[in-house]
């Protein structure tokens, strides 16, 4: 029988939650790395017991941890992230040039074909790759070398590369997203990159349709439709049917189109999920009601999913990497909140229940469907 493993990164440690295929009873294991911020954990699709975790604090910097037994035990691996060549400058909050400085790893994306290969998206924005299980890291500097780097500027959370999507149909194609530069794509394995932001409109920047400068919060893809991308931008939910060459807004009837997470149903490539957040100044749900919105039409027409979620006095946020879906027959959907709850739905979002309620603020949620 299949089982499910949730990898939950929080402000004060990592938690591994496991259940059988019914997903009713959960065992909570953790905290691992208690007291440290775990921005992201993710398992290799090649070897489900191979996990990678990004561990950091303001005191002692960045560590990368690796597990070979599904999160029971961990070992620190390489934490040396050095930009290739002379890093140069990006734009600072006040518009002045600011030197590129490594701060932390936001996202780890294991290879689809090799358990020892893994990508890391970092702040200040850059993409790194390890071919030896995280022991050493090399920058794919063609991204920063695109030429627009000096115009990139940090979002409120920093200049972070937070989204990495590997194309299962084309091993040389990778999508990434940066706050606040936008989305980029490589078609040659990371040597050269191009911005893919045509159709994005951001009123908060001097030129709303600029080639770069957009605060993309997250991007999702269904593996069976690698040319179709869904994006939660700072404001606006967007869709692309041509691998990011152009985007159309699909916010439709959402109560607000600000938010962080976006994800796609495991078996229905047109079914997508977002969690609307009131505004960039108020990082909590509109009307104090925690609602997941589901579209079965790839956007525009949205349905509020509320059963089992708090519908009054709720002021949590759901951060960009804190939603995931499993691949069981009835698709499970999971998300974590800044209030420390992790909610699960075993019926594609119709009904929800909290697996845990009192973890530290949740930064990321990933799920593994185990054979």
């Amino acid at each position: 029988m299949s089982s499910v493993r949730l990898l939950v990164g929080t402000k004060k440690g990592a938690f591994v939650l496991t259940s059988d295929g019914k997903r009713e009873k959960w065992a909570v294991n953790g905290p691992h790395f208690g007291g440290w911020e775990i921005y992201h954990m993710k398992g290799s699709p090649v070897d489900q017991n191979r996990l990678y975790a990004s561990q950091s604090t303001g005191w002692f910097g960045q560590l990368i941890q690796r597990s070979n037994d599904g999160g029971k035990t961990w070992e620190p691996v390489g934490n040396k992230f050095v930009y290739d060549g002379v890093p140069g400058t990006h734009q600072w909050y006040d518009g002045t040039p600011h030197p590129w400085e490594f701060k932390r790893v936001w996202h780890l994306e294991p290879s689809l074909t090799n358990a020892d290969a893994v990508y890391a998206g970092v702040e200040d924005a850059g993409l790194f790759h390890s071919a030896n299980g995280g022991q050493t890291w090399d920058e794919l500097s063609g991204l920063r070398g695109h030429g627009s780097g000096p115009r990139w500027q940090p979002g409120a959370g920093g200049l972070c590369l937070h989204t990495i999507i590997l194309d299962p149909a084309d091993p040389k194609r990778i999508f990434i997203a940066i706050s606040a530069a936008g989305a980029f794509r490589t078609d040659d394995g990371g040597q050269t990159w191009k911005p893919i932001n045509r159709g994005l409109v951001s009123q908060q920047i001097p030129e709303p349709t600029a080639e770069v400068g957009h605060c993309v919060h997250h991007v999702a893809m269904h593996p069976a439709r690698p040319n179709r991308l869904f994006m939660q931008k700072h404001w606006d939910v967007m869709r692309s049917d041509d691998a990011g060459d152009s985007w159309q807004e699909v916010s439709g009837n959402l109560p607000t189109d600000f938010g962080f997470v976006i994800d796609v149903h495991a078996h229905e490539p047109e079914t997508i999920y977002v969690v609307p957040i009131k505004s960039d100044g108020e990082h909590y749900p509109p009307d104090a009601k925690l609602r997941v919105y589901r579209s079965r039409t790839g956007g525009n027409e949205w349905q509020a999913l509320t059963k089992g979620l708090p519908q009054s006095d709720c002021y949590v946020n759901v951060l960009r990497d804190a939603m995931a879906v499993d691949t069981l027959d009835s698709c499970g959907v999971y998300f974590g909140t800044t209030g420390g709850q992790v909610y699960a739905s075993t019926d594609a979002g119709d009904n929800w229940a909290a697996i845990v309620r009192d973890l530290p603020a949740v930064l990321s949620v990933e799920v593994q469907t185990l054979a």
Partner: protein, 98 residues
Amino acid sequence: MIRVELPAHLRTLAKTSGEVTLNVEGKVTLASVLDALEARFPMLEGTIRDHVTQKRRPFVRFFACEEDLSHEPPDAPLPEAVALGKEPLLIVGAIAGG
């Protein structure tokens, strides 16, 4: 032998408890002690000082003999009591973060 006291998080990371004792060849300085510490515990590289610049991380402090040595040059000699192993070098996570 040089005695070094690590903050709790770094003791956990290094899988050690209590004080660490190190052999340091030649002049006993912050740099030479940290070199010896990282040679014995490679997982500490980058956590106390930057990988590239070798500068102390901003929220890390070095104390010994009731003195704050955080702003001393890395090649300055440590107090004699530290060099003789009578007093430990304290590596401290700064009070910060509320």
